[in-house]
Point group: C2
Chain length 360, copies 2
């Protein structure tokens, strides 16, 4: 048994993986694979409809939101968000909160298309906490306010989302979509790369309030325009059919084990197990501050770079895979997405305790 703590592409639910394997050569008794059928076949169109319905059922997404399956993963959204939204108001202005590396990349990209203002940043404490928007005046003529809901690299999350009034809130939820209950009516656009809680890589799932669709820049490339995805039900050209197929299975699995409320409790319990241990020892040090701690990515440091290398190697030998932190942050990182069972976290804590005992 291997527990895979990779930050993404990441561990997927075992029953889903087994089912994909079982039916890989013969989907729905058609004698061919799901990856070999036309995206325009009635069978695949039904699959996309089912995926939409399951997502709405599991998340409670309101009817005035469209679901779009967009090419390119989350980073393509760093371009698509401004290209589709910034033009809505004459000032072409957008507000960004910088809570980590991906928020920064998104902000730099948006600067190509309009006037970007950083309204808060966590850079002062190296992104160890989410900066507060309390008392920050938000320009009411802004086209949107952008934030990253969970920061994969630095292991932080917004415990609650800010109230942005009439300014549409745009959220990169790549590393915690489906991981916690969210009130989607608060969002203008929410997007997620699929390779963490949704399925394999190479796609983004985007939910957009319908009134925000249809405002793309005049020379917007066809497959960057939300309106094209809306009009063609994400089939303006061939989408990543394997990813959509797997998202459908993951959503069904999530619904059947108890839905988002159940998994949110599970995720909280998993994170608590690890943070409680981290806070109980001086050998390891959690990097994210209480109040901003991610339930999806737990980052921590060891006393030395040498010990870190040994830690990662020995963990791997014991079936605890991919614990190395991101090169920008250093240290270790355990990603505990929906598919990670609590037994995996317990195995990790046991290993960490033993490692600290013998090396500390």
């Amino acid at each position: 048994m291997v527990y895979n703590f990779a930050a993404g592409p990441a561990m997927l639910p075992i029953p889903v993986m087994q089912r994909v394997q079982e039916e890989f050569l013969n989907w729905k008794n058609m004698g061919i694979s799901v990856i070999e059928i036309s995206h325009r076949s009635k069978e695949f169109e039904a699959l996309v409809d089912e995926t939409d319905q399951l997502f709405r059922q599991v998340t409670g997404l309101p009817d005035n939101y469209e679901i779009l399956y967009c090419h390119g993963g989350a980073q393509m959204q760093f371009s698509m968000v401004p290209m589709n939204l910034i033009h809505r108001k004459p000032g072409k202005k957008a507000l960004y909160v910088e809570t980590g590396n991906f928020a920064k990349i998104a902000r730099v990209e948006a600067e190509k298309f309009g006037n970007i203002k950083v309204v808060a940043t966590g850079v002062a404490n190296n992104y160890a906490s989410i900066p507060s928007l309390e008392g920050v005046e938000l320009d009411e003529d802004a086209s949107y306010l952008y934030l990253t809901s969970n920061n994969t690299l630095f292991g932080t999350r917004w415990d609650s989302f800010p109230d942005t009034g009439e300014i549409p809130l745009v959220v990169d939820a790549t590393s915690e979509i489906l991981g916690r209950r969210m009130d989607y009516s608060k969002f203008g656009v929410l997007f997620a790369g699929t390779q963490k809680n949704l399925g394999p890589s190479g796609l983004a799932m985007v939910v957009a309030r319908k009134d925000l669709i249809g405002h793309a820049l005049a020379d917007c490339p066809k497959l960057m325009d939300y309106a094209v995805y809306q009009k063609e039900h994400s089939m303006a050209n061939t989408p990543n059919t394997f990813a959509i197929y797997m998202i459908r299975l993951v959503l069904e699995w999530l619904r059947d084990i108890g839905g988002v409320d159940f998994i949110e409790q599970q995720n909280a319990a998993k994170a608590k197990l690890l943070y409680d241990y981290l806070d109980s020892t001086d050998f390891y040090r959690a990097t994210a501050l209480p109040g901003s701690r991610s339930h999806m990515n737990v980052c921590f440091h060891l006393p030395s770079e040498e010990l870190l290398q040994t830690f990662v190697k020995e963990a791997e030998k014991q079936g605890l895979y991919a614990l190395k932190g991101h090169r920008m942050v250093g240290g270790a990182r355990a990603s505990l997405y929906n598919a990670m069972p609590i037994e995996g976290v317990q195995a990790l804590v046991n290993f960490m305790r033993e490692f600290a005992r013998t090396r500390g």
Copy 2:
């Protein structure tokens, strides 16, 4: 046994499909799936290197060409080609040959970014043949000349590619990449959506002459810029890892059965079998004219719409899947990509003969 004649996503080689299934839960004895590992792991980086090397080995791609794995399939290239190339010369001019629907969509998209001139079109005979460029004067200040090497909808192909002199030739080879020997040194850029001869959908493989990279428009979205893909070895963000993994297996399969020269002969024999039968009967009528006939997509008509419907349904009952033509063209279409064995074409011809005998 099902023979799948879908135009794409399409049939993939059986040994490749079986191997994917076998190792789906446990890749390289790591205890996890290839879709669950980081694109930045040494194992996945090695996989991308191997894919590059196999492609170079199989196609003879010269060293002054870069291989890029781009998001969004072939249609994203309809935008990326002008966004990356049209700016190279002050007139922002490009030449397009319209040989079918996808060439037209590409031309319409390119008009957003520069001055587009259609130098030849097959519209007069409903794209039943490839128009000649003999005697057509090509503007020497054009940034590139664009054509579609094989037209999936209309079942035509360029038997040989035109000499465009100093003007870089850009080729959409989506539906025949790896299907025939090509002299890549004649191309500026060649691209292909992956869902026909390469693997599953949701990616494009792009080969670009190195001197043509680095000329993107100033406000080019990050993931539309060839230079970004070149610099980051297509890992500026998480690529479609499953597709790259499968392309590697498909390339290995192709190399091991005899390479492009072998498969080109096979494809010619398959196409000849079907065209010879079509030309021998009055019941069916091939739509593409001799001299322009695709070896990948064979399009034909039946005497009536009613007979067509019956034909498609009865064929499916006999395991001959997805023979309906594209809605824009009507009629029937048999796609005979690399993975289709000649036995499949023989089974189709046998069925067609029997169908004509009983219904003709």
